[in-house]
Structures are given as C-alpha cells and as structure tokens.
C-alpha cells in the first residue's frame, strides 16, 4: 500500500523541512516564530510532496526521480492557491493558523486582537470550505442544519484553539535565557505526535489511506520541529514554550478529522475521542508553570482517548477484512423484485 517513495516524500521531507526551519529560526533568534513556521512549512511542503509521489515512483533512477519531484512541485503548490479538493484547503488553513499564532504571541494588544479575529475567522471558514460543494451542502442537509453543524464544528475549533493560545508568561523576556530542550518541554510535542499518529491510523482504518498520509505528514513535521530545537539554548520569547505551534496542529488535525468523518468512514465517537486527545495533548504541553499533576492527568487522558479510538477502529477494520473470500458469490445479492432465491 505505502511504499518507500510515500515514506520519503510524505515523511522524511516534511520532517527535514520542519527541522531545518526550526533550527535556523532558533539560531537567528526568531524563536517566537520557530514552532508555528516550522510545522506549517513542514506540512505544506509535505502535502505538496505527496502530490509528486506518482511521477517520482514512475521515474527510473535517482536523477530522474529528483527531476520528477521538482517538476511536480509547482503544480502541487498551485493547487493550494486554487484548491480543487477539500484537503487542499488544509494548507491555506495552516498558513492562516501560523499567522494567527505569530500575532497572538505578541505583547501588543492590537496585534493580539487581530490574531484572535484571524483565528475566529479560520474556525468558521475551515469547516465551511471543507464541506463546500459536497452532498452535505447540496442535498443532505437543510440550510438550518448546515449552519448548525458548521457552527458546532467552529465552536469545537475555537475551544481547541483557546487551549492552544500562546500565552504570555511573566518571566518571558527577549533577554532572559531559557533552558535548552528539557524533558518537560518535550511532553506537549510528544503527545501531539501521538495524536497525529492516532489520527493517521484512524483514517487508514476508516477508508482513506490518502488522508492518512496527511496525518503522517503532520507527525513528521512535529518530530522534525522538535528535533530542530534539541540542545539549543534559546531566549525565552513570548509564547515560545506555550504555543508549540498548537494552532497549526489543531487546524491540520481537526481538518483531517472532519475530512475523515465526512468523506471517509471515521465514526463520530472516534472523531470526538481524537479531539479530546488533541485537547489533552495541548493542555499537557501547557506552560512552564503547569503543575506536574495536570501534566500527568492530561497525558493519561490523551493516550487513553487516542488508544481507545484506534483500537475500536482497528478491530472494526479487522472484522471487515476478515470476511471469507473463498466464495466468489459472497457479495452477490439477488434483486429483491425478481423473487430469485
């Protein structure tokens, strides 16, 4: 199903991009932007790279594969500017989420308000765009039902986004040296990676490997961005540890969960569990002043919610593929109106 080319383009490349961007931004002292920009860049490049998989896989030899990859990228990026599929909107949403994070991490009140407005607009626009033109808007839902459902999804996104807000801490200062990466600072990213992996597994076992690859792209970006700051002593910037690029992760993974629920077969319960897991992961990341007790509880909730979701989805998937296949007429059903038995 997934070959080495998929893993290279959808895993290694977004990871390396996120790593390089986070390490570079840390090195030049722009630590505020490091997390959100590293993850956003990683997932956007990763999604574009996935579009290049068919041409790269068909290319003979390394040189041809590299040429095919770079030849396919312009069209892939163009698809983000003029999205044709719902999944293409995730890239645009991610860029907006990164911009909102940068604004919200500033001390200036006007900037923070602008960031909040941008985030709110994104929360309402994302579900609308993902469902635009689909059977849900065209025929399955009434106008009132559509508005209600979009509003509910937007409220969920706002709640998750509020948890992920980069918060200004009293001891944040551009001149106070922060510690290098500590085990404590890794909890948030590790749990977010667990949720990204969980969403990927949910999608893969619920009818869409292509959406699952998008979850893998986020997983790679989180891992890359985390590794990019390893061992670096940085200045404590506003929102540096609190943000963890949370809004970007929320946008991408929530968007994927919506795609999985509406265009694949993720059950509503598993979507809720994934969202709970994501919220707990963000809450566990918290700030430098978050208590260990809260970190522990949130971590357990995150792992339990995601674990339960992927277990139930995996069992259902196993049941579905375990049907006997030695009967060639297994799936044949007589037309009900002919009386054939």
């Amino acid at each position: 199903m997934l070959g080495p080319v998929d893993l290279l383009l959808g895993g290694v490349i977004p990871g390396i991009v996120a790593l390089l961007i986070r390490a570079t931004l840390h090195r030049i002292g722009w630590t505020q932007a490091a997390w959100p920009l590293a993850i956003a860049s990683g997932v956007v490049v990763g999604q574009a790279s996935l579009a290049a998989v068919p041409t790269v896989a068909e290319a003979g030899g390394l040189t041809a594969a590299v040429s095919a990859y770079f030849a396919a990228l312009p069209e892939a990026f163009a698809a983000f500017v003029q999205p044709r599929q719902a999944s293409h909107w995730l890239a645009a949403g991610t860029v907006v989420a990164a911009a909102a994070t940068l604004l919200l991490a500033r001390r200036h009140r006007v900037a923070r308000r602008a960031g909040a407005l941008l985030g709110l607009a994104l929360a309402f626009t994302l579900p609308t765009r993902l469902l635009w033109g689909s059977v849900y808007f065209l025929s399955e839902w009434s106008r009132e039902e559509a508005i209600l459902r979009v509003a509910l999804m937007a409220c969920g996104l706002v709640a998750l986004g509020w948890l992920a807000l980069p918060r200004v801490e009293p001891d944040d200062s551009p001149t106070s040296l922060g510690p290098p990466t500590t085990p404590r600072s890794l909890i948030g990213p590790v749990l977010m990676a667990v949720v990204a992996l969980g969403v990927s597994v949910l999608l893969a076992t619920s009818g869409s490997l292509s959406y699952a690859q998008h979850g893998g792209v986020m997983l790679a970006a989180i891992v890359g961005a985390t590794l990019g700051a390893m061992g670096q002593i940085s200045y404590r910037s506003l929102g540096e540890h609190a943000g963890h690029g949370g809004l970007v992760v929320v946008t991408w993974l929530s968007g994927l969960a919506m795609l999985g629920a509406f265009y694949a077969e993720i059950t509503p319960l598993n979507v809720v569990l994934a969202v709970v897991g994501l919220g707990a992961a963000i809450a566990a990341g918290g700030t430098r002043h978050t208590t260990w007790r809260r970190v522990a509880v949130c971590s357990v909730v995150c792992v339990a919610a995601v674990g339960f979701a992927i277990t139930s989805s995996g069992l259902e998937f196993s049941r579905a593929i375990a049907q006997p296949t030695d009967n060639p007429y297994l799936n044949w059903q007589p037309p009900s109106d002919t009386g054939v038995e």
């Binding site: 199903m1 579009a51 998989v53 068919p54 896989a57 068909e58 044709r84 599929q85 719902a86 999944s87 033109g133 689909s134 059977v135 849900y136 065209l138 025929s139 009818g207 869409s208 490997l209 292509s210 959406y211 795609l259 509406f262 265009y263 694949a264 077969e265 579905a320 049907q323 799936n331 044949w332």
Partner: protein, 201 residues
Amino acid sequence: MKLATPRTLITASMIAASIIATIGPSHASAASYAVDGSHTSVVFSISHLGYSYTYGMFRKNSGSFEFDPDNPAACAFNFTVDVASLDTMDPKRDEHLRNADFFNAKQFPQITFRSESVRKTTGEDGKPVYEATGPLTMHGVTKQATLPMTFLGEGPGPYGNYRTGFLCRTSFKRSDFGMNFMVGPIGDNVGVTISFEGIRQ
C-alpha cells in the same frame, strides 16, 4: 430632433436582446432527446496489478442530446453520472472507490460532460462517428475531452416513441483528474464505454 423615450429604449433593447439570443450556437434544426436511463450503460475498466481488468458501472445517469445526423454543428451532448451509484460487484471495494482515496463521491457527487462542438467523421466500420468535444468534470477537475459517439441506429421504439442510440468507447488517465491514489498497482488508464439511447422529445 426628438429623443427616444426611456420606454422606447427599453423596448428596443429587449428586441435587440431577443435577436442576439437567437444568434450563436443554434440547435434549431436538431431533434431533442432525453437519455433513457434504462437503456444506457456507463461501464469502466481498470487494470489490477497488471494481471486482470476490473469492470464497474455507474447505475444512475442522466442526460440529453440534440441530434441532426447531417448537421454536426447543431448536435450537442450532455451527460451527468451519479458517482455514488458506482458498482463493481463487490460492496467493500465499492465503498473504498466511493471514498476519498478515489472518487470521493460525497465531495464530488457527479461526473458531468457538456459538449461545446461536434465534428462528424466515419469510423473504421463505416459508421458515422460524432466527436463531441467539451468540458468533462470529474473529481473536482475539469478538462477538455473528446468523446467519439458512434451512431448505432434510430427508429421507433415498441411504445411508439422515437429512439436514437450511440456507443462511445474512450479512455483517459485518472491522474489527469487528480485521482492519484495507488497509480501503478491500480492502473492509471481507465477504459470507458458508454452505450446510450435517447427518446425524442
């Protein structure tokens, strides 16, 4: 000089608009047909691992066409296929094909074709072929396509209505329509056969 009143201007504009509306692609000499879904088949085939071809069909479709055998410029073909009606005789596979990895039927519920020009040629078997060119939209992607409609026959049906039928055989690459999943193990080229009958209106 007497100036035209607003009422005169409006009347003149409406007459001019009516004249303009009658100019342009005209199907006045062509007969109008509604596609008879009961005698229409939309069948596709695709390679599986290079070992065999899997066949499937779309059970629900609709359309209409204008047809004048001697005036291809007056001909036009319009089709709409309901993607969710896909059937390959394996429900689990159908479910996957309808999902986001392939057709994404809930996001892109229809495949549509609307001809913009028709050219008449002759097939290898001597039958007239009407090559209909126009936008084909599938999986959210619209591309110009030429569908060769081989004229099979026409005449009265058993219930008195007048029928005309065509056969269209063509192929295209699914990756051209953004359907890239598992290209390789599952073929990129998709063979399509559309046999349809229309009832003259």
